[in-house]
C-alpha cells in the first residue's frame, strides 16, 4: 500500500525533491498542490475536455484521501514522535483545550 501511495505521488515528488528536502511536507502537500496546479492549467488549455479533467481530479483526490486515511490509521515508525494518528487524535481530544474555553 505504501508503494502505491508513494508511486502515485512519485512524479511530482521527483520534480519537487530537488527544491524541498524530504519531509512529510514534501511528500504530500507539495505534490498534491503541484498536480492540482498542473491539472488546472491543462484543463484551461484543453477547454472542451474540462469535465474529464474534473473527473480526473476527483479520482485523484479520492485515491489520495483514501490513502491518507490509511496512512493515518496505520501505526507510525517507532522513531516518530507520535505513534499513530488515531491515538494522537484521542490523546488530544480527551483533554480540555484551554484555548477553546478561553483560558491563557
Amino acid at each position: 500500500m505504501d508503494r502505491i501511495f508513494y508511486s502515485l505521488l512519485s512524479v511530482p515528488i521527483l520534480i519537487t525533491k530537488s527544491l524541498v528536502p524530504y519531509s512529510s511536507l514534501g511528500a504530500i502537500i507539495i505534490p498534491v498542490v503541484g498536480v492540482l496546479i498542473i491539472t488546472i492549467i491543462l484543463s484551461f488549455i484543453l477547454t472542451p475536455y474540462r469535465k474529464y479533467f474534473k473527473l480526473l481530479i476527483f479520482i485523484y483526490f479520492l485515491f489520495v484521501s483514501v490513502l491518507l486515511i490509511y496512512q493515518g490509521i496505520k501505526p507510525r515508525p517507532p522513531e516518530d514522535i507520535i505513534s499513530s494518528d488515531l491515538r494522537e487524535n484521542r490523546n488530544y481530544a480527551i483533554t480540555i483545550c484551554l484555548s477553546c474555553i478561553g483560558i491563557e
Binding site: 519531509s23 512529510s24 511536507l25 504530500i28 502537500i29 469535465k51 474529464y52 474534473k54 473527473l55 481530479i57 476527483f58 483526490f61 479520492l62 489520495v64 484521501s65 483514501v66 490513502l67 491518507l68 486515511i69 490509511y70 496512512q71 493515518g72 490509521i73 514522535i81 507520535i82 494518528d85 488515531l86 491515538r87 494522537e88 487524535n89 484521542r90 488530544y92 481530544a93 480527551i94 480540555i96 483545550c97 484555548s99 477553546c100 474555553i101 478561553g102 483560558i103 491563557e104
Partner: protein, 299 residues
C-alpha cells in the same frame, strides 16, 4: 421526488439539530466531565469543539492546529493525515452540503437570520477573508508559535465549551477564577457573530469557518451538485432571496461557496434547479438515459 426534496429542505434545521445530537450525545458529561472514549479518535465533519462536555468526536480544526503546532528538528511540522483524508473524502462526496445541512452552528445562524430585522447583505467579494483566516490562524500561526490560534478566537468553542464549563459542571468554580481576558474576547466574538447572524446570512460560515474553506476547495469536484438548467431559468430572483450566499442559482450553484442547501431547488417556480450527481453524464451517456426527451430538429 421533488416534493420529498422540498419537504426535506424545509425541515433542514432539524437535520442541524440531528447533527448536534449525533456528535454531542454524551449529555452526562456536564455532570461527570468530558467524554474520553474511543470515538474521539475520529473527527466530526464540521467545527464541533471537543472540549464541550457532551462532545463525542474530536474537532477537525482543533486537530489540524494541534498537529501543525508540533515542532521537530527535521520534520518542520506534522500533517494530520487521517483528519485531512477524512475531510477531503467527505468534501469529494458531498461538497459543502455538510455546512448547508448538518452543521449546528450554521443552523443557529440560519435560524437567527429568520428573526425580523434590517438585513445587511454580505458582498461575495469578502469571501476571500476565509482563506486568509484559514492560512493565517489555522496554518501559519500554529506552525510559527506552536499554539492553536483559531481556537483562541473560535466562537463555537465559546458556545459549546467555554460558556457551559465556566457556568456550571465539574470544576466551574476553579475555571471561573482563572478565566481572564481571552475568555472575554472569545465571548465578545461569539456575541458578535450571533448578533451579526440576525442581520446577515451566515457570516461565520462565509467569512471565517476553516472547515467550510476546506470543503470550498473541493466544491467544484464534489459528486453531489446543484444543477441549473439555464434554458428554464427565468431569473425571477426568488432563489437569491433564500440563497445563503445571496446569489441567483445559475451563479451560486457554480460557485465554490455554494452550501448545497437546496433552498433554490425548493423555491424555483420552473424546476430549473435540481440536485444531481456531477459525473453522471460522463458515466451514463445522455442518449441512454430513459427520461431524456429528444430535442426536435430545427429543420
Amino acid at each position: 421526488m421533488k416534493k420529498i426534496i422540498n419537504k426535506l429542505v424545509y425541515l433542514r434545521p432539524l437535520f442541524g439539530l440531528a447533527g448536534f445530537i449525533i456528535f454531542n450525545s454524551y449529555f452526562i458529561g456536564f455532570l461527570k466531565g468530558i467524554y474520553t472514549g474511543n470515538n474521539k479518535r475520529f473527527c466530526a465533519p464540521f467545527i464541533n469543539c471537543h472540549s464541550c462536555p457532551s462532545a463525542t468526536f474530536a474537532c477537525p480544526a482543533g486537530l489540524i492546529q494541534h498537529y501543525l503546532s508540533y515542532h521537530h528538528l527535521f520534520k518542520i511540522w506534522l500533517i494530520p493525515k487521517f483528519v485531512i483524508g477524512t475531510l477531503v473524502l467527505i468534501a469529494l462526496i458531498a461538497g459543502k452540503a455538510i455546512c448547508g445541512w448538518i452543521c449546528p452552528f450554521g443552523t443557529i445562524q440560519t435560524l437567527l437570520y429568520r428573526l425580523k430585522s434590517v438585513k445587511i447583505p454580505l458582498s461575495p467579494k469578502l469571501h476571500f477573508i476565509k482563506y486568509v483566516v484559514f492560512i493565517g490562524l489555522v496554518i501559519y500561526l500554529p506552525v510559527l508559535l506552536g499554539a492553536p490560534w483559531f481556537c483562541k478566537l473560535c466562537p463555537v468553542g465559546s458556545l459549546e465549551a467555554g460558556v457551559p464549563l465556566i457556568s456550571f459542571g465539574t470544576g466551574s468554580v476553579q475555571l471561573r477564577e482563572i478565566a481572564g481576558n481571552l475568555f472575554s474576547i472569545k465571548l465578545a466574538f461569539l456575541s458578535l457573530f450571533l448578533l451579526w447572524s440576525v442581520f446577515s446570512k451566515r457570516p461565520f460560515c462565509r467569512l471565517f469557518c476553516p472547515i467550510g474553506t476546506i470543503y470550498s476547495l473541493f466544491n467544484k469536484f464534489s459528486l453531489l451538485e446543484v444543477k441549473v438548467d439555464d434554458d428554464k431559468c427565468i431569473h425571477c430572483g426568488k432563489c437569491k432571496k433564500l440563497c445563503p450566499i445571496e446569489n441567483e442559482a445559475p451563479l451560486a450553484a457554480r460557485s465554490v461557496d455554494c452550501f448545497l442547501c437546496g433552498e433554490c431547488v425548493r423555491i424555483c417556480p420552473t424546476d430549473a434547479v435540481k440536485y444531481g450527481f456531477r459525473y453522471s453524464d460522463l458515466i451514463i451517456p445522455r442518449s441512454l438515459k430513459p427520461n431524456d426527451k429528444q430535442k426536435p430538429n430545427k429543420a
